[in-house]
Subunit: 153 residues, 2 copies
DNA sequence: TTTCCTGCAAAAGCTTTGCAAGTAC
DNA sequence: GTACTTGCAAAGCTTTTGCAGGAAA
């Protein structure tokens, strides 16, 4: 397992205690936490960490491609973050949470995408297709007759 | 072409002048405007329309499935809205705009997805697969060496 | 030593809500 | 007539920024 310090070095990021904690917490979870959730997770070891630092750090991480910033369900609610940048599909739960599609199934979804359709799209847009990143997301829509339960705390 | 009034009736929505204008403006454009952009478009005919009404109206429309609310690039910036609810792929441009993947190409992307992968996923989640909605989005990532041009007006 | 990072608080950006008046049904 | 909509302003929530002190390179 590569150390966070080395990863940071590779991505041109300064290595601070806060960044290490945040990255390790994010890499260790399979949930896709919001900035506040991540703060809560890390506050157990560091009481002084501030939410602004969490945001700034996650922004630095996603800018350089170390992690992935995910928009939440239809843009409502806070963003979520994913330490796994490899191409995999996500599930958007009705309550706003995001989970990963299990790898075998994800491969079936992502691999099913026609590469030639992607290059046609690149041609259409005038962009080399290696600059196109595919995002496959499966949204779980609420049961038609279901009462809205906004138990989102 | 079905009249907005009839569409609203079908979706159980009251028909007001503001809603008609907004729906027609949204249905007439191929861009995926933000609430503010839509307000600007409609302000040409109605100077009194307020942004709050635009948001409330778009929310009512998307709640009942008449339109689709799209989160903007990685949750940064305002939401965008799409009057087309059929399953089609979107392109996220680096400047935050969203365009549709042309229909031929979109069909190639979306149809290529293995339906059995979707039902496996439904099984895994314990959700009937008709409650799973596939979203295919192609993100155009900025040119590796490009200066950030935030010309986003 | 220089540059970048952190924490705090304050600001900014997007969206929702409370209320009184008006409109659809 | 009743219930829902509208417009305005104010509040709410998420994210960013300014600044002084501190830590990394």
């Amino acid at each position: 397992m590569e150390h966070a310090r080395d990863i940071f070095r590779r991505f041109g990021l300064r290595c601070t205690r806060q960044r290490e904690m945040l990255y390790e917490a994010l890499a260790a979870t399979t949930s896709h936490p919001t900035a506040e959730e991540l703060l809560a997770m890390v506050r157990e070891s560091d009481t002084d960490l501030s939410l602004a630092t969490v945001y700034n750090t996650l922004d630095a991480f996603s800018e350089c491609g170390l992690i992935r910033r995910l928009s939440s369900l239809d843009g409502k609610g806070p963003c979520r973050f994913d330490a796994t940048t490899s191409e995999h599909a996500h599930v958007l739960l009705p309550d706003g949470r995001i989970t990963d599609v299990p790898e075998e199934i994800s491969a079936g979804l992502v691999r099913a995408v026609n590469p030639s359709a992607l290059s046609s799209l690149g041609g259409h847009l005038g962009v080399p297709s290696d600059r196109l990143r595919l995002r496959v997301t499966v949204e779980v829509v609420a049961e038609p007759g279901a009462r809205e339960s906004e138990d989102n705390d």
